[in-house]
Symmetry: C2
Subunit: 242 residues, 2 copies
């Protein structure tokens, strides 16, 4: 059984305003909810249609119809959890850090979080205008990677003015990334889908790189930001062998 | 002025059934329409709100309100063109070819077409169940790359049984792609978002490769197919230096 106020809370968490206000977000499906709990995310409440299949303490049983009513998924998947957003921690640059300068598409953000997880990038620092990683669509698109990649929102100019590691950004006129000796500790900046890296952040980039283009002269003007990020992170990991 | 039958035709081209029946597709915006014409795509009809700004022969002037009525875009952009799908040509394996085994998401398909354009891959061979590249959403997502990358739909088992170049596919148990000597002529197979490469196509893969994973043991189970494709194509181009 689910109460009216619980329904209202879950529905409100589809909006950033209420996620910010409450510090809560929604995750769905037994795998994702289980991974968040395992990663020590703090649950606020867990609703399930199959209480016997999970061992999460304090979960409430609800009907399929109730779950369908509150779920953000086209096909609800047994469990819906409300979680507390993790507290901000001190940012450290002991390895690779990815910085997002106003990434707007939630799908791109979800893909980049998965990519960071794959390449062992534990820290993703986003500008305040970047899409909200606690948007239910992004949470689901990360396929569990949100449990392992710390995503924080900061003023990027302030953050980048205090780092001691090289700051890489991709530009059409940068140096061929394949020919670079890449360090293990670095920051990789990815820019907005339409505008690329903003002028303010560009001035903080210390190493301008480029992904070489092949083929015809009139080829694509840019790569999708997640695919560009994939190539850059792959190059960093290949170059440093870890 | 646009006629009722023209409105009906354009609207019908939002559906694959009618694109298949008529052999036509829709592209919007002056840049994309211009690039298609330049790439010798054959226009069926072109509608524009600003006839003075383009030099396309046979274009019809329509009002903003008319364009808004037929456009597939949230923000209509001056020009809407109906084009004939290009005729199938003989497939050749003189360079890199990308093969898509049932890619379902139109966004992923659009991103992969852009990626092929960037890396000079002129030929993309898709299974019949792969999303339709002539879907208006895909056409727009390619940002003009559809004008330069030939996309064809074929029975993949038949196609792959007749090729003489190595066929690469990414699998968790494949050989580290970074350590491979990669050839200039090859086929790279990318699999379905949820299922990966199907068993039938896997049996046609002659070189099993893997993108190494870094970091925690319990990391992401897979990469998004477009990001995996980005890393693989980047490696092929880096390795062969062209």
């Amino acid at each position: 059984m689910i109460s009216k106020s619980q329904i209202k809370l879950i529905t409100s968490l589809g909006q950033k305003k209420y996620r910010d206000k409450t510090g809560l977000f929604v995750a769905e499906g037994p795998k994702l909810v289980g991974e968040l709990i395992q990663a020590a995310f703090s649950p606020h409440s867990i609703f399930t249609t199959e209480p016997s299949t999970t061992t999460i303490s304090g979960q409430q049983e609800i009907s399929e119809a109730e779950l369908k009513k509150v779920s953000f998924l086209k096909t609800p998947n047994k469990v819906l959890g409300i979680f507390h957003k993790p507290a901000k921690e001190r940012l450290e640059n002991t390895d690779l850090t990815v910085v997002l300068d106003d990434i707007q598409d939630p799908g791109n953000l979800g893909t980049i979080i998965r990519l960071c997880d794959w390449f062992g990038v534990a820290q993703l620092v986003c500008s305040p205008k970047t899409a909200d990683c606690y948007n239910p669509k992004v949470i689901q698109a990360t396929m569990g990677s949100i449990a392992r990649v710390r995503v924080e929102y900061h003023d990027l100019e302030m953050y980048l003015s205090n780092v001691s590691v090289p700051v890489y950004g991709a530009f059409m006129d940068g140096n061929d990334v394949y020919g670079q000796s890449l360090p293990q500790k670095a920051i990789v900046v990815l820019g907005n889908e339409g505008q690329g890296i903003s002028a303010e952040i560009e001035s903080r980039v210390t190493r301008r790189i480029a992904i070489p283009q092949y083929g015809k002269a009139q080829a694509a003007e840019s790569l999708n930001v997640a695919t560009a990020g994939a190539i850059l992170l792959s190059e960093f990991r290949r170059a440093t062998g870890k």
